[in-house]
C-alpha cells in the first residue's frame, strides 16, 4: 500500500465512522425526545388552578419519592397519599436522585451533570423553596432527616482519581438544617465491642435518627460491618450489633430494619432483615429473593419499603413493600418510584 492509498483508506474510515456515529447520536436524540415528551403513564393530580403557585405542595400523611417513569416528569419529586399509594401522584418541580421528607422539610441529593459531574445536597422548606445548598464530594447514596427535621444526614461515595489510590470510600455527614456541618462521622470516636479503636479503613454510612442527639449508622472496617449508636453531642459511635448495613429505625423506636449481606454466586447479595433492639432477635426476610441495595424505610410498624431497579428497563425503579414476618412475600407498592420517604 502506498501513502496515497493509506490516506484515502484513512479518510474513508474517518467518514464512515463519523457518519455512523452521528447517525446513531441523532437517532437516539430523536428517540429520547419522543420518549420524554409524553405524559406519565401513571395517574397524576392535575396542576393547581393558580398558575402563580410556585409548587404544587401536597400535605397530610403521604409518601414522598422520586418519580422514575420515562416521561416528561422523570426525576421529579412526587408524593401520594399514605392511604392511597397507587393513586394519582402530586408532582413538585424539584428533581432529586435521593430524597427524604418530614411534614415541612425535605433533603434532596442531586447529581449535577456538567463537564465534570458534581453532586449537591439541597435542603427545602414546606413549599419546596431551597433553604441551603452545599456541594458533596461524591455520588449521592443516602439521606435522612431527623424526626423534627432539625438535622440532615447524607452519605456519598468518594473515589480518588489516579493510579492505585485508596479507590473508594464513603463520606457521611450530619448537618443542622439550614446551618453548618457536624463533620465527617469517620472523625467521631469509635468504640467497637467496648474498645476504643481508630482503624484506618473505617467507613460510615446510612444514618437513621432517634432524635436530635442520637442516631444509628453502619460502620464498616476490616471487612466487617457494625450497627453503631451515635451521640452527636459527645461525638461518639458505639457498636451495638454486627452484620447490619444501612439501618432504619422503626416508628416506635424498638426495631432496626436493615439489609444483611450474604455471598451468592461470588457476589455480595443483600436481603432485608429486622433486628429487635431490646432482645437482639434478628428476622431475615428471605421472602425477598432479589438483591436489595437500598436503605429501607418503614411504612408502618410491620412493613418495610425499598426501591428496586427493573431488569428490563434501565433507569426505571419501583417501590416494594414487605411485611416484617419471616416468610412474607414482597408486593409492588408504587410503580415508577425511588427513594420513598413516609410522612406520617
Amino acid at each position: 500500500m502506498n501513502q496515497r492509498t493509506r490516506i484515502a483508506l484513512f479518510a474513508t474510515v474517518a467518514v464512515v465512522t463519523v457518519g455512523g456515529v452521528s447517525a446513531y447520536a441523532v437517532t437516539s436524540a430523536a428517540d429520547y425526545q419522543q420518549r420524554h415528551h409524553r405524559s406519565p403513564t401513571v395517574p397524576v393530580v392535575p396542576d393547581p388552578p393558580d398558575p402563580h403557585a410556585p409548587h404544587h405542595v401536597a400535605t397530610g400523611p403521604r409518601i414522598v419519592f422520586r418519580h422514575t417513569g420515562i416521561d416528561d416528569h422523570i426525576g421529579l419529586v412526587a408524593s401520594v397519599p399514605l392511604d392511597d399509594p397507587g393513586g394519582p401522584r402530586t408532582f413538585t418541580q424539584v428533581a432529586c436522585d435521593r430524597v427524604d421528607a418530614t411534614e415541612d422539610r425535605a433533603s434532596c441529593l442531586r447529581i449535577e451533570r456538567g463537564v465534570v459531574t458534581t453532586y449537591s445536597l439541597t435542603e427545602y422548606d414546606a413549599d419546596w423553596r431551597p433553604v441551603e445548598e452545599v456541594s458533596l464530594p461524591g455520588i449521592p447514596s443516602r439521606t435522612r432527616l431527623s424526626p423534627d427535621g432539625r438535622l440532615v444526614a447524607s452519605t456519598t461515595f468518594v473515589s480518588g482519581h489516579s493510579y492505585m489510590q485508596v479507590g473508594f470510600s464513603t463520606a457521611t455527614e450530619i448537618r443542622d438544617f439550614g446551618g453548618g456541618s457536624h463533620g465527617n462521622l469517620e472523625k467521631f470516636d469509635l468504640v467497637i465491642d467496648g474498645d476504643h479503636v481508630a482503624p484506618r479503613d473505617r467507613n460510615v454510612w446510612g444514618v437513621t435518627f432517634v432524635d436530635d442527639t442520637t442516631f444509628y449508622a453502619t460502620v464498616g472496617t476490616g471487612g466487617e460491618t457494625y450497627l453503631v449508636r451515635g451521640d452527636l453531642a459527645a461525638r461518639t459511635l458505639t457498636s451495638v450489633a454486627d452484620h447490619v448495613e444501612c439501618p432504619s429505625l422503626s416508628p416506635d423506636g424498638t426495631r432496626i430494619g436493615f439489609k444483611q449481606a450474604t455471598r451468592r454466586d461470588g457476589q455480595t447479595w443483600w436481603t432485608p432483615a429486622v433486628l429487635d433492639l431490646s432482645t437482639g432477635e434478628r428476622t431475615v426476610l428471605a421472602g425477598e429473593t432479589r438483591n436489595v441495595d437500598d436503605q429501607v424505610e418503614w411504612l408502618d410498624e410491620d412493613t418495610l419499603l425499598y426501591g428496586l431497579a427493573r431488569d428490563d428497563q434501565p433507569g426505571v425503579t419501583d417501590v416494594w413493600e414487605l411485611d416484617t414476618r419471616a416468610d412474607a412475600e414482597p408486593r409492588l407498592l408504587i410503580e415508577q418510584a425511588w427513594s420513598p420517604a413516609v410522612v406520617r
Binding site: 447520536a25 436524540a29 452545599v134 468518594v158 492505585m164 479507590g167 473508594f168
Partner: protein, 414 residues
C-alpha cells in the same frame, strides 16, 4: 570553557543548521492517536460511575471494584508490551494490538450490563493501555534527535492530556443533549477508538527512524540492564515509593474541608490543565538543562505540593498551589522518564528499557499508596504528608547525585 551534552542546546532554540526546531511528523501523528484514544477512554470514564449505578443499577460497591481494576491492571502488562515490541522489532504492531484491544473493549461495553462482563471489558481496555504505552514511547524516542527529545515527549503528552480534557466535555455535551444518552457516549467513544486505530495503522510507518535495522537476536535482560538504566530504575523506584499519588492529595485537601470539599470532583481537572500547559515548556527545559535534573526538580515540586497541603494556609490557596505543583510534577516526570530511559539502553531494546522504567514507577507508586494509607490513619493526613515529605527531602539530594551523570550517558547515536 568546555561544552557538555546537557547544555549544548541551551544556547538557542534553533538547531545547528539554523532551522527552528520541530518535532518529527510521526510524533505529532502519535500524539493525535493518543488524543483521540484519550477522548475515547475519558469520555466513557466520565460517565461510567453514573452509568453503572444510576442506569444499570449496580451497587456502588461494585463500582468501587471496577474503579480499582481500572487503576491497577495496566501497570502489570507494560513490560510485556516493551519486550514484545523489541523482540519482534515492530513496536508499531504491538502498539496497534494495544489500541485495538481497547477499541474491541469499547465495542463490547455497549452490550455489557453485569458486573462480571463489565469487569472483563475494563480489564481488556487496561491491558490494551499497558501493551501500547512502551512501544509508542519507543517510537517517539526513535524518531527524535537527542537534543529535542524532551520537547517531543512534551508535545506528545500535551496532545494526550488534551484528549483527556476533551473527553469529559464531549460526554457532558451529549448528556446535555440526550440526558440518558450513556449508550450514545459509548458509541462516540467507540468511534474515536476506531479513528485512533486507523490513524496508527494507516498513517504511522512501522519504522519511523532512519536507524539501521537491528539484527534479529534473542533479547536478554543484560542488554536492557545497562548501568545507566539500572541506576535510573533504582532512583525512579525509590522516588516512586515516596510519591503520594494525586488521589491522596485530593483526599487530604478534602479532609481539611471548606473550599476543597466543594470542588473535589474538579481537582483532577485542575491538575490536568496544569500538566497540559506545562508539558511542552518543561520538555524544552529538560532538553536544555538535562532530563535527569528536571526529573529531580519535578519531585521537588511534588515535595512542595505536600507542604502546600500539610501546612495550614488558607484552604483555597493550598488547593490552587497544590494542583499547580502536581501538574508541574507530572509534566516533569511522565514524558521525561520515558525520554531518559529510551536513551540509556541500546536502540534494539528501547521499548523494554522504557517499559521497565514505567513499570518500576507504577509498582513503586502502588506500594507507596498502600503504605501511605497506613500512615494516614496512624497519624492523620497532614502528619503523614510531613513524614513522607521529610524522607523525600532527604532523598532528593541523594537521588540528584545518583542521576546527575545520566544526562551525559546516552547510549544512542542520537
Amino acid at each position: 570553557m568546555y561544552i557538555t551534552l546537557s547544555d549544548r542546546p541551551a544556547s538557542s532554540r534553533r538547531t545547528p543548521d539554523g532551522r527552528r526546531r520541530r518535532v518529527a511528523p510521526v510524533v505529532v501523528t502519535l500524539g493525535f492517536v493518543s488524543l483521540v484514544t484519550d477522548i475515547s477512554s475519558e469520555s466513557v470514564a466520565a460517565i461510567l460511575p453514573l452509568y453503572l449505578t444510576a442506569s444499570l443499577g449496580l451497587s456502588t460497591m461494585s463500582y468501587g471494584f471496577i474503579d480499582a481494576l481500572y487503576q491497577g491492571v495496566s501497570a502489570l502488562v507494560r513490560i510485556g508490551g516493551g519486550w514484545a515490541a523489541d523482540r519482534g522489532g515492530h513496536p508499531k504492531w504491538v502498539a496497534l494490538v494495544g489500541y485495538g484491544l481497547s477499541a474491541v473493549a469499547r465495542f463490547f461495553l455497549l452490550f455489557s450490563t453485569g458486573l462480571a462482563a463489565i469487569s472483563v471489558v475494563i480489564s481488556t481496555d487496561r491491558i490494551g493501555k499497558g501493551l501500547r504505552t512502551a512501544p509508542r514511547d519507543a517510537m517517539i524516542s526513535a524518531a527524535t534527535p537527542d537534543e529535542s527529545l524532551g520537547f517531543a515527549f512534551g508535545v506528545h503528552r500535551a496532545l494526550d492530556t488534551a484528549g483527556a480534557a476533551i473527553g469529559p466535555v464531549i460526554a457532558f455535551v451529549v448528556l446535555w443533549w440526550i440526558p440518558d444518552g450513556y449508550l450514545t457516549v459509548m458509541v462516540i467513544s467507540l468511534g474515536f477508538a476506531v479513528l485512533g486505530v486507523a490513524l496508527l495503522g494507516l498513517l504511522v510507518p512501522d519504522r519511523p527512524s532512519a536507524e539501521p535495522r537491528p539484527e534479529r537476536r534473542p533479547l536478554a535482560w543484560r542488554d536492557v540492564a545497562t548501568p545507566g538504566l539500572v541506576r535510573l530504575l533504582l532512583v525512579a523506584g525509590a522516588l516512586g515509593l515516596l510519591t503520594v499519588g494525586d488521589g491522596f492529595i485530593y483526599l487530604a485537601l478534602l479532609d481539611r474541608g471548606g473550599f476543597a470539599a466543594h470542588w473535589f470532583p474538579l481537582l483532577y481537572v485542575g491538575t490536568n490543565i496544569a500538566y497540559l500547559s506545562l508539558a511542552i515548556p518543561i520538555g524544552r527545559l529538560a532538553d536544555r538543562v538535562g532530563r535527569a535534573t528536571v526529573l529531580i526538580w519535578g519531585h521537588g515540586a511534588l515535595l512542595a505540593s505536600y507542604a502546600a497541603v500539610a501546612f495550614s494556609w488558607s484552604i483555597a490557596a493550598s488547593t490552587v498551589i497544590a494542583l499547580l505543583l502536581l501538574g508541574t510534577f507530572y509534566a516533569a516526570t511522565d514524558g521525561v522518564i520515558a525520554a531518559l530511559a529510551g536513551r540509556l539502553v541500546p536502540p534494539p531494546v528501547r521499548a523494554s528499557g522504557i517499559a521497565s522504567a514505567q513499570t518500576v514507577v507504577a509498582l513503586a507508586r502502588m506500594a507507596s499508596s498502600a503504605g501511605f494509607g497506613v500512615l494516614w490513619f496512624a497519624f492523620g493526613p497532614q502528619a503523614a504528608l510531613v513524614v513522607v515529605g521529610t524522607v523525600l527531602l532527604v532523598a532528593l539530594p541523594v537521588a540528584r547525585s545518583a542521576v546527575r551523570r545520566l544526562d551525559l550517558r546516552s547510549v544512542s547515536p542520537g
